[in-house]
Symmetry: D2
Subunit: 507 residues, 4 copies
Amino acid sequence: MRTGKEYLEALNDGRRVWVGDEFIDNVATHPKTRAFAKLTADFYDLHHRPELEDVMTFVDEDGVRRSMMWFKPTDKESLRRKRRYHETVLRNLGAGAAPRSPDVNNSVFRTYVDDPRPWSDQSVGTDGRDLVPGILEFCDLLREGDLNAAIAFVDPQTDRSRDSAQAESPNVHVVSTNDDGIVVSGVKSVATGAVFADYINLGTFYKPGVTSEQIVFAGVPANAPGVTMINREANGRDGEETEHPMSSQGDELDTTIIFDNVFIPWERVFHLGNPEHASYYPQRVFDWVHYQAVVREMVRAELMLGLALLITEHTGTYAIPPVRARVSQFVGFMQTLKAHVVASEEDGFMTPGGTYKPNVLMFDFGRVFYLENISRLTAELLDLCGRASLVFPTEGQWQNPEFRPWLEALQSGPVGRPHDRLKISRVIRDYFMSDWGDRMAAFEGFNGTPILLIRELTIRRAEISAAGPIADLARSICGIENPERPEQTEYLAQAEYARLQDSAAGR
Amino acid sequence: MRTGKEYLEALNDGRRVWVGDEFIDNVATHPKTRAFAKLTADFYDLHHRPELEDVMTFVDEDGVRRSMMWFKPTDKESLRRKRRYHETVLRNLGAGAAPRSPDVNNSVFRTYVDDPRPWSDQSVGTDGRDLVPGILEFCDLLREGDLNAAIAFVDPQTDRSRDSAQAESPNVHVVSTNDDGIVVSGVKSVATGAVFADYINLGTFYKPGVTSEQIVFAGVPANAPGVTMINREANGRDGEETEHPMSSQGDELDTTIIFDNVFIPWERVFHLGNPEHASYYPQRVFDWVHYQAVVREMVRAELMLGLALLITEHTGTYAIPPVRARVSQFVGFMQTLKAHVVASEEDGFMTPGGTYKPNVLMFDFGRVFYLENISRLTAELLDLCGRASLVFPTEGQWQNPEFRPWLEALQSGPVGRPHDRLKISRVIRDYFMSDWGDRMAAFEGFNGTPILLIRELTIRRAEISAAGPIADLARSICGIENPERPEQTEYLAQAEYARLQDSAAGR
Amino acid sequence: MRTGKEYLEALNDGRRVWVGDEFIDNVATHPKTRAFAKLTADFYDLHHRPELEDVMTFVDEDGVRRSMMWFKPTDKESLRRKRRYHETVLRNLGAGAAPRSPDVNNSVFRTYVDDPRPWSDQSVGTDGRDLVPGILEFCDLLREGDLNAAIAFVDPQTDRSRDSAQAESPNVHVVSTNDDGIVVSGVKSVATGAVFADYINLGTFYKPGVTSEQIVFAGVPANAPGVTMINREANGRDGEETEHPMSSQGDELDTTIIFDNVFIPWERVFHLGNPEHASYYPQRVFDWVHYQAVVREMVRAELMLGLALLITEHTGTYAIPPVRARVSQFVGFMQTLKAHVVASEEDGFMTPGGTYKPNVLMFDFGRVFYLENISRLTAELLDLCGRASLVFPTEGQWQNPEFRPWLEALQSGPVGRPHDRLKISRVIRDYFMSDWGDRMAAFEGFNGTPILLIRELTIRRAEISAAGPIADLARSICGIENPERPEQTEYLAQAEYARLQDSAAGR
Amino acid sequence: MRTGKEYLEALNDGRRVWVGDEFIDNVATHPKTRAFAKLTADFYDLHHRPELEDVMTFVDEDGVRRSMMWFKPTDKESLRRKRRYHETVLRNLGAGAAPRSPDVNNSVFRTYVDDPRPWSDQSVGTDGRDLVPGILEFCDLLREGDLNAAIAFVDPQTDRSRDSAQAESPNVHVVSTNDDGIVVSGVKSVATGAVFADYINLGTFYKPGVTSEQIVFAGVPANAPGVTMINREANGRDGEETEHPMSSQGDELDTTIIFDNVFIPWERVFHLGNPEHASYYPQRVFDWVHYQAVVREMVRAELMLGLALLITEHTGTYAIPPVRARVSQFVGFMQTLKAHVVASEEDGFMTPGGTYKPNVLMFDFGRVFYLENISRLTAELLDLCGRASLVFPTEGQWQNPEFRPWLEALQSGPVGRPHDRLKISRVIRDYFMSDWGDRMAAFEGFNGTPILLIRELTIRRAEISAAGPIADLARSICGIENPERPEQTEYLAQAEYARLQDSAAGR
């Protein structure tokens, strides 16, 4: 299994990266990027910690010990084992300070390998080439090297008020094809963490008006000729570990990638040219990513509950009943997220490829629940802190003997050591009142599939329709006969191979 | 097993019942009560429906087929079986039109029989009598007769601003004791469904200032001399099945019971005289009731989703994307409630008496989630209906040939038969815009343990405290050492037998 | 000025009215309708109360003392005088127990008389007849007789998913025209209070697909041949004044009116045939109605605050700080509504007809604020009541000497007489937990213009657009130049005479 | 009138200031502070802009032209004039980028001069000295020099769970007294903007357990011997005007001030020693500050509406109806805040000192409305932006010719210039997704009087009590007699001079 050191060395591969106005010569060493590179290295090193071996690794069918990120769950128990792995990574990396860690990025491929045949068969413009061997080979390559393939699916925003705008977009598209492969040009707008990855997992979302040329799913090395990664300002605070315990761990960045006549060999092309195929994947390819997202949100809710307990205990407000009632909201927040995780595992199903997959609706609505409540609860946590989230001394002030007696008195409450309150305040400030924290919050909102799209896709499902069984109880109470189930619905008209990724039952 | 007919006959036992200003001679036949008596009879008859035998009944260790309400879950699978039973009752009785059906009322005794010893040992003023045989014998009596024991725990509201008010309250209290039993006088304020029960399950909640005399847990026949049940107005609409499909099913009533020198023999006394013991039970005795409450709320959420789908389909608004997004909220509402049910079962634990009990925090916060969202979602459902919840013809108008052509045109939409829309509208009106429905909503709010008390009790638990493991993640992220766990906490100071009803682990 | 007695006598005019399945021979005396007829008579009698003369009446330019409902505000002070009149009516009629009282109904005509010329000039199919004299004469007729003209604008719901459905709707439409007038047939779906009115104020809302024949604005006597009024069930509780202080005041009903070949003479036709003209009026004709609606909502908020204070004082919870904080929410609710009323008056403007009209956006968003918060605050009020909104004795039980001692003890708190708590509870139950109250709440939601339509119409205004001055501050902060204001916008393309009803400035 | 240049020169006065770990030699020139010093200088220079003369200045009774910050409103029109002044400052200084500008700070003294007598008469420990001349003279001093006196009222947080903690707090307190003045030591926890002020306006809030020694109201020069100002990290981004248009304007800082044996002469002492007097001022001294706060929030709501319009217009989502409905929420947000401002002015009253003061409840609940909705609306604005609030190029990337074509395509929508979208995005990021913006949001929450305290103080008012006239409507509807008004209430027991700052009527 890869070590952190090996990972860092691999980053120095000539990739073209800009962060803000600076060109980054080496991602592993440049002050704008080295902290997050180090955090990703920590991810790899976690797998080598003996006390975590059972959680972080498994022995595969060939007797090889591997990272749990390559583990395929085949029943509920093994899915839970996978969850414990994700949880352990999250708890050790800042309670979700690296939302696009390699275990998350690579989880997309679970859907590819589960049933790769349609990816190839539905392609257009491949002259009949079979893409399946390439898909499998690429997944092997990732697993053998413990590599990290960043997701680059988000297309440029176009004028949403007319469908024809899509064809004029600078989206990545095929410019030419030959016997060896394809050449693409264009932009992917947001590829979170791409700067820290080995490969770019190129894909696209269906939108009305998208052209066949814009439908490209493929694997591209981060240092491929013609690839340039430009990034917004970095929110990390390099070297400020004491004052900024979270943001000093670095910023994974949200990269815009320019592909300028990039060649991709056929064996790295997963799918080509079929908008209908692309339409099946805005939600399904990200299912495993979203499952992990709810696990992450559950862990973050636990952190928020803990912070609410610690800070109110420190300031003494915890003893006041109405404050306790407010703190208990965080218990409920955590319980509800946990409920979605546990229930999605309990109500899982088997995919065509023999994977035990958690119930999709259940974790999707866990994520919806989080997003609908997080801004309110963040405001509540900060309100419980009062000034303690903002007005507190720096470490330098604390260490100044002239100030210390005053500052100790200011930080003293009924419980806990004064200096500990500083530490609590710093984490709360970094997580909820900073550039770094705000970006983290924004990321939860748009990673993969936004809420409104989840809502729309949900309502299209066979089981959620007035004609479907979900309304049988209402019909029975109203004294209305059940309708004949339609032979064919909008949902059933979708390719069956795609629907099989939703659940094994009920269609 | 009892039949509906047997149940109805048993109601005519001389009990003293007033509904509004009327004295009820026979609960089974008086127009103010007969509809709900009939609904309860339906409950019993469900157990005799052959096609439901597997769901509604079980064969006990002695080979006797019994109602599933007496079934003791011993593992997760049997708990789920119990849930399916509750669900079946709910779906067949108006999606929760009888919140205090016998299976719910009697579930309180699951906690009594699970570990009856402390109930007796902690008593004060029993002259050393062993109450355990009486508890077990009473539970046998209920089971053998498939009886229904209504919960009468809610004490008079006193001046909440001073603790001394409690001693002056007209609460039920012991007025004398002799060799045969005790004599009690006083009032229980709210005993939902008591009018329709065989027995009154007398109990009390701890409040600051409560006296030893006010602590009485016992079983009292509904027709015991000295017992008078006075009820608010009934919200049922007797005989209006067509126009009022829900409220015509009757009103379970919220009874105020006056005990005027009522004699209770020792073998029906479960506990006496210890306020501390009473303090352990506001939440724990109602745990099974609350578990069923979340199941009920999940079923009701399914009904609401179904109604939202049916009415928007009928009026055609379902085809409009923003309406679909709003309807999808009900999918989320149902999913989240289901998540709490499933996860509470999954994370259950074994009690001292060998019962497999669902995770208490998980279902408690399911109920909190419901209560925090139901008024918003009710308003949303009514808004999706527009006028269809209010302005629609009566059946008489519909049948009038002069009006029919106009009314058919008014009720026609893109999907469904015009007359069906009437049926949907009637259910929505009854459930969400009526005396009957409003009482149903209010009942959810105060049945058993109100939200604020759940919040306060939750925060007192060992596992939810700043010193406890729940804050370990926050401490780790903040870089603060874990504290030494206290030998003794407020929570641990509680009697262990009570804590063992919370969960088997983690203290 | 009309007396209540005169009003009641006028109701017995042969009008064809059905309430539920019953035919009403005389609205003034039938048990289903007489209570609300009496309440409307009370409205008229209020004008004859000497101590209210200054508030309820004014002396017009001809020296005639008239009801303030005919008063035309010409500046801010006189607008406030008008508001005091509406407030007085509201406070004396159950804090809004009659939302469609004559002063509200007739306020629609303020817009007609303000600028009647376009109503006539824009008509289609009138063969050049001048409709202005008829409009003015009809308004005179109403004023001279203190009549009541109910609004009948709401058209049948059609399939919202396709515009073509509108033409197939059973909406009222012109079936023939001759020298004397027009003949109309069809249905108006909801004409609140029509049963209690002298005239039907027929009108229509623009919808995509509406035909010229469906555009009819006219005055029709309630007893015109061919007019039949069918009503949903009545929610009033005739004769139950003690137990049901609010619902015993009757139900104004939401009437569906069938027009079966009804003849309307030309002098009662206000406008005919122009969908574009109709499109200007969904919001504007109802402006005065909506202004009064916010006044009504402000009064109701004051009632809710008062009830919250009274019930928590009675039960003693008022002494508990977190309860006080919750009660203070109702202070805020009332203040914010009052703010919208006061500010809309302060920022009023002069119409073409010399009326001083309150700021439309300001009162519209007052109504939006009410609707967005009322279900939450209703739930909050009921939660503050606890069981006191539901479980309390009837008057008969209270008067029963056997029960009285127990009941007095149950209703006693730190402040107030026990029997008073009953009275408070009854009002709360009637207003917020009953058929009657739920209908009242629903009415607020759909009277005139629903929220979503207000939102959409608002955003179309000239002053609320990215190009308009409202975004100048944002542009200035962003360092972006102000755009050239377009010569013509969607908003400006509307007939100027309609825009002049929005405000005098800023276009 | 002071110029910006004069102001900046005055800052170099030897004051002892730390920002984070750095000592600031000269606030006007140090990179950590110079940007905000410049912004404050801009405030002064605004008064010298000829085109703003009418708005920014007035001619006093002596014929001297002065800053409007010294203007005393004596009727509604002059209060509105004062508001226009505040608005102009806000619009020119970043829509509220300097919440504690001099006009805000100094507004506190409006209450002092309005009725200074009680401040002196209620004092304890002044040996009968008359403090009134000193108060008036200090106010003259401020006015003559156009000085800026920062508010330093916020005391150390102590253990909120026991009142005795207050006496042990390091709060500023009198350590000795002599003929010339007093000597104080201790800490003020949060004195926003103190670093940029000429004087510290020392005061205190009443808390249970506060001692007489801790009650000190006085004026202290920022550079007085013994005064040290230590500050949290600065959130400003010095010199980054292009990339960070808001945060580059500097951070006003929230200063903790240490008073180490600071001498204050008697003529700068406003009040001493009376906790009861202090209890009247947590709300009243800040009334003018809070009035301006609602004006500021109204201006910020206008900015948010403008930003929502601009960004959705740019991305084209504005054309989509559900997006328009969401944007219209910001219209409502602004209207409701404006309603509170306008109505508070309209319902103002005359104070004892002849000031026309806006209605306190009205602007207080405007602020409550803002705080209860701002986190939801901020989340909504960011959601409307989608990725546009986070992922966009830096100016350097934009200017790079290699990237420009791609970036222009990425930033192009149906309306507006591509580079303008960058500018909009930068403002949104700075205001709502940054250290700087988060601090701004937090400041609104705790400036002066937190919401819960406003709620509690409101409910104590005479007019808001169950016995008071506010419940008369409820009593009338319930049929309950009005109580005799108590001769004396908790509220009336307060010093009348304090109540007169609430309103002239209704006690």
